[in-house]
Symmetry: C2
Subunit: 245 residues, 2 copies
Amino acid sequence: MGRTAAALVIGNEILTGKVQEANVAALAVELFGLGIALQRVIVCPDDPAVIARDVGELRGRFDLVFTSGGVGPTHDDVTVPAIAAAFGRPVVRDPVLEARLRSHFGAAITDGHLRMAELPEGGELVVGTSTGWPLLRIENVWVLPGVPDIFKNRLTALRERLGSDTPFHTRAVYTRADEGSIAALLEQIERAHAGVAVGSYPRFGDPEYTVKVTFDGTDLSAVRRAMQACIEALPAEQIVRADPA
Amino acid sequence: MGRTAAALVIGNEILTGKVQEANVAALAVELFGLGIALQRVIVCPDDPAVIARDVGELRGRFDLVFTSGGVGPTHDDVTVPAIAAAFGRPVVRDPVLEARLRSHFGAAITDGHLRMAELPEGGELVVGTSTGWPLLRIENVWVLPGVPDIFKNRLTALRERLGSDTPFHTRAVYTRADEGSIAALLEQIERAHAGVAVGSYPRFGDPEYTVKVTFDGTDLSAVRRAMQACIEALPAEQIVRADPA
């Protein structure tokens, strides 16, 4: 069994519909590729008490927690003090980050800028990445920025640091079957192939296929056997295409 | 103070990165327009125990709960029995829905199809909508399908049923300011305008602007005053454009 993970997306802009959330999908793809099971995502407002409570709960229930958002220089960026509160630690200013900010902004530097040098006491700044700015980790909680391009860049940098568990494999069969008509078959395939999760995703209005059936698991041969069992059980004319075994 | 809301998005396909979640943004925009405050979103797996626990918690903490996904005919569609468990009620089959399904599928009907006629005992089927298929409500929990086109269609049908609270208003100023340099100003504007939430959203690599500043609230004149205060405080050359007052 590989590690489990959760994500906490922080931002009023998501909850008010101003911005379409874009980081969870990137995180999900990355973790799936590393064999880490993302099991829960929460989107919460820029509210320090809510963030602290959620981080406190998630870090106890999952091996890894990733936060997205709320780490900029303005009053609505409250993630770092909220995480510090979740760990019962004070917020401190890192002298190396402070020096970098002072060097960058010079005399124009503000208290807002300097908030970006703050971290919960005992937090680790993971340097030497391709991002230019260190990644912040407090025990099993990784603090990532909300801006999608930067989030994705940091994820790539995080990859080597996280390391891989037994990777997940996934295969899909695209069918012209009626979903209800194959429901019993899919349930039977899942039961007969321990460790393989069978998913069924209907598609409406697509001329190519009506249901995509997926087979996921860490045991590639079991995933292949489950896909093969599905292909053999379906009438040939209902199969549009299948992933290479 | 208008109603609060939460959403529970159910689906392994989101957490494994197979599918980019698309319903939360539509729900957020719809609720914002109705003056209903979406305060929390959870994405969870197709696991009945997790769904039941989340529904049980959310329905107590928020005025309205919307679920997305898990209502089809296959083994991974477990939302209805999980919600029934959250309410401590049995699952029953609705005779009207059953008759419609039998009429549609005829002799080819399966147990899978008939699962789509199931609901928690005491659940209300809201008919007479433009969707053709009724909406399911159990007390303050609305059960919506995961397929984005159908989800959005149901949302439109739901609009008149939910009714509107005092609507939220939002205005934005697009600036070429450095975010850290205006942080203190924005915090001061938020403090000086009770009931207005000021948001600051940096943009990197955009030739037009660097920071979008938003002003949200139910009191339109307060929202306008906050925006005006921002426009007057910023140097004119830093303002790219602003929403009409």
